[in-house]
């Protein structure tokens, strides 16, 4: 088996995604979101293919991909750890939880742990303020999180 055949076919996926939106460059953001859903991030070859297929400069894709916080250009960890740092969560102890996460996982916002298990992404507000402070791992919400709980939540995903 060659190395090429082991890699995902970025071009084919890009073509499929671009066709999904009838090659309309107005849908660049949803296209990139779809690519990210497919690969977990936006691989450069896929982005190059999109730019080519839409006949737009690669720099436009790049500027969009770097502008929006939900789009990632580097591979993410197995689990996405989202911490709400909206006003209420911040007031009710979110900042202490953020410190604890950074300490425990040795990551900064947006980074992925060395073992590729978690990508840490603080967000502005998850809109569940009544349950503050709120944290999410993938699609699971953790409400009224305390600093002490953080370790045990991680432990669940480490098993």
């Amino acid at each position: 088996m060659t190395i090429e055949s082991a890699l995902p076919d970025y071009r084919a996926t890009a073509e499929e995604v671009v066709e999904r939106y009838r090659r309309n460059s107005g849908f660049l953001i949803p296209m990139l979101q779809d690519l990210q859903k497919e690969f977990g991030y936006i691989p450069r070859p896929a982005m190059e293919a999109v730019a080519q297929l839409l006949d737009i400069p690669l720099s436009q894709c790049y500027s969009v991909a770097t502008f929006y916080s939900s789009l990632a250009l580097v591979p993410r960890g197995k689990h996405l750890l989202t911490l709400c740092l909206g006003t209420v969560c911040y007031l009710k102890g979110g900042k202490e939880i953020a410190q604890r996460i950074e300490q425990e996982l040795r990551v900064k916002p947006g980074e992925t742990t060395e073992d590729r298990l978690f990508t840490y992404q603080p967000v502005n507000c998850l809109g569940a303020c009544a349950l503050a402070p709120v944290m999410m791992v993938d699609d699971t919400y953790y409400e009224r999180v305390s600093v002490h709980q953080v370790d045990s939540i991680f432990a669940k995903y480490r098993e």
């Binding site: 107005g26 006003t87 209420v88 007031l91 809109g127 303020c129």
Partner: protein, 669 residues
């Protein structure tokens, strides 16, 4: 297949149990409801109509029959709050437990996911309705509690007044208050959120059975000009923050040259502490859609967009389902209700950028570009999306439109104040007892909202301020708590209505640190296009950080105010123009806090680390040693059972001793 689909599955109005037999008990009603690809009875009726568009009454009749059959059937109904708040609090687990208990007793029941009732701090909430009996609402339902409630009420006939919050509907139960009469609910006026918690947002028949799309029918029978005049006359103003008169916006767009015209729903609710729009999109998506179709008809648009924040996946799914159902029923798409009017819309997910809540940035984002605002010398109602006339309104604004058409502009204008008509939905959060979603008539004072509906401040703490308007708003101190909820009066006290986040703060909140938080937020979210915002916010953040770290200088406050002026005058968009509000309003009302930080190196709220001390109270310390063991710096000493002492020279102000002490003997001074 799950229990929830029982109710949505039945083809015939009666009996409702038809589709129930193979129902498994794997729970997660929301998932099932979201995934339920099958159309409703209504849709099937329409499909069977041989292609001709159904009239509204042809849609409504079977919907009403289904609803009546559900309500008058011989099976109990379990209603579960399945909005994000409810799910986060464990509604799915509670439902699963309830279903297991039902099965254990061989009881067949309908399970219906509903939107947010608004009592978010009591989630998960679950209502049990007995056939022909009372519907009782229970709060903070754990799985064990769910089993207990089902067993007690449905098997043993005990409504469990000890666990109940209140009754819903006409049938009352002795010893249980009516939910609508609870202190948190009674002062509210529910117009936009009226059906929240009562109908299944994923079932168009529920919406139709409650008069849904009646306003659309009425609007389509009117001249577009008359629809516009009605909205103008209602006095409705934009609920997204600016408070611009909606009717005037629509008229400018209608009269603008250029085709096609677009309508957009701004669901990019980025203000931290605000979740009204999420709740509306999740709890009553059809109201938003109906409002948009009416608006499009009045303006002359045939294409619409709903731009939803990336962080709201459930809202997207509910809207997607609602759009598909509306299309299937002929309420969206070609030849709506057979009137010849055509309009369709699509959902766009945001990429996670706060600035995209600004209209021109949002439109840039819809065009596949970076979300940078542009100067609005020419308004978007003339040159908006793709250079065409575009009307952009907030979710709540659109949801108000059907009500105005249905009940009339006069009725709508009878609610509220001289300059602000109707109601406003707020998310009441922070240091307040009853957190949640509230809807009040304009003109109610902030004091009533915080202390009557909100129940005041928890603990023995004192109220300090309420923050309105998100990062673009300001903090309002106690002496202005009697300010009514009104666009113009909130401006006068240095804040703004904003989209509707009300964040209550108590004496433990440092206003300087809060200003720093918002400035930091806005600095991170600044798109970077114009210099005052990009550089000004970074400088303000530096100065505020310096003050919070105890390194503030004389003149810092004046410097901050100067930077505020620059931002107000020179920033490009509304985000930048209002970015100074948190700093300006905290200086205006809490100047003493700033001065104490700068001159005395002391934080009056005892929040800024290093600007207050920890002390051990000798009178109450019993020498248990918990704080001594917790201290990472060995700053605490003392014999067993003797009062301990803290060496201030070693203390690093980590707060571990305060957390460790179970006798309240460690205090901040």
């Amino acid at each position: 297949m799950t229990v929830s689909s029982r109710s949505t599955e039945s083809r015939e109005p009666v009996p409702l149990s038809a589709g129930r037999s193979e129902a498994g008990l794997d729970g997660r009603a929301a998932e099932a409801a979201r995934a339920n690809p099958r159309g409703t009875a209504t849709a099937e009726r329409r499909a069977g109509g041989g292609g001709a568009a159904a009239t509204l009454s042809e849609l409504q009749e079977p919907a009403r029959a289904r609803w009546d059959a559900l309500k008058r059937g011989d099976q109990p109904i379990i209603w579960v709050g399945m909005a994000t708040c409810g799910l986060a609090a464990g509604a799915a687990e509670a439902l699963k437990a309830a279903e297991a208990e039902l099965e254990a007793h061989g009881i067949a029941a309908h399970t219906i996911p509903v939107g947010c009732v608004g009592m978010c701090s009591l989630e998960p909430m679950l209502d049990v309705e007995k056939p022909g009996g009372a519907r009782i609402c229970y709060g903070e339902v754990t799985p064990e509690k769910a089993r207990e409630i089902v067993r007690s009420y449905l098997v043993e006939g005990d409504p469990r007044a000890d666990l109940a919050l209140g009754t819903v509907g006409d049938v009352e139960v002795a010893g249980i208050p009516r939910l609508s009469e609870l202190p948190m609910i009674a002062p509210q006026k529910r117009v936009v959120t009226g059906t929240f918690g009562l109908i299944n947002p994923t079932d168009i028949d529920h919406y139709l059975a409650h008069g849904g799309y009646q306003a659309l029918q009425r609007a389509l029978e009117m001249d577009p000009e008359a629809v516009l005049a009605e909205v103008e006359r209602s006095g409705l103003r934009g609920r997204g923050g600016g408070g611009f008169p909606t009717g005037r916006k629509w008229r400018s767009c209608r009269e603008a040259h250029g085709e096609p015209k677009y309508v957009i729903c701004n669901g990019d609710e980025g203000d931290p502490g605000a979740f009204m729009d999420r709740s509306i999109m999740e709890g009553d998506p059809h109201a938003v859609i109906e409002g948009m179709v009416i608006g499009a008809y009045a303006i002359g648009a045939h294409q619409g967009y709903i731009y939803v924040r990336n962080e709201y996946p459930l809202a997207v799914e509910r809207l997607r389902k609602a759009l598909a159902d509306a299309r299937e029923c002929g309420l969206l798409g070609e030849n709506i209700l057979g009137t010849g009017f055509s309009f369709d819309m699509q959902i766009n997910r945001g990429g996670g950028a706060f600035v995209c809540g600004e209209s021109t940035a949002l439109m840039a984002s819809l065009e596949g570009m970076v979300g940078e605002p542009r100067a609005k010398y020419i308004h978007t109602v003339e040159v908006g999306l793709h250079g065409k006339p575009t009307t952009l309104n907030n979710v709540e604004t659109w949801a108000n439109v059907p009500v105005i058409i249905e009940r009339g502009a006069d009725w709508f204008a009878s609610i509220g104040t001289e300059g602000s008509k109707g109601t406003k939905v707020f998310s009441l959060v922070g240091k307040v007892r009853n957190t949640g979603l509230v809807e009040v008539p304009m003109g109610m004072t902030l004091r009533e909202i915080v202390f009557e509906i909100g129940g005041g401040i928890p603990g023995d703490k004192r109220f300090k301020a309420v923050q309105t308007g998100g990062p673009s708003g300001g903090c309002i101190p106690e002496e202005h708590l009697d300010t009514p909820v009104d666009f113009d009066q909130l401006w006068e006290v240095g804040s703004m209505m904003g989209s509707g986040g009300l964040i209550v703060m108590d004496e433990d909140t440092c206003m300087v640190n809060l200003a720093r938080y918002f400035t930091g937020f806005l600095r991170d979210e600044s798109c970077g296009k114009c210099v005052p915002c990009r550089e000004g916010l970074a400088q303000m953040q530096r100065i505020l950080t310096r003050i919070c770290d105890g390194e503030g200088r004389e003149g810092d406050v004046e410097l901050l105010l100067h930077l505020c002026d620059v931002l107000d005058d020179a920033a490009l968009c509304a985000l930048g123009n209002t970015a100074s509000n948190p700093v300006r309003s905290t200086i205006r009302w809490f100047r003493a806090d700033y001065d104490e930080h700068i001159r005395e190196r002391h934080c009056p709220a005892r929040e800024c680390r290093g600007l207050f001390r920890y002390e051990i109270l000798a009178e109450t310390c019993n020498g248990c040693g918990a704080c001594r063991r917790a201290c990472p710096e060995d700053a605490i000493s003392g014999e067993r059972r003797q009062a301990h002492t803290l060496d201030q020279t070693k203390c690093v102000h980590c707060g571990a001793c305060l957390e460790a002490c179970r006798f309240d003997s460690v205090v901040k001074v």
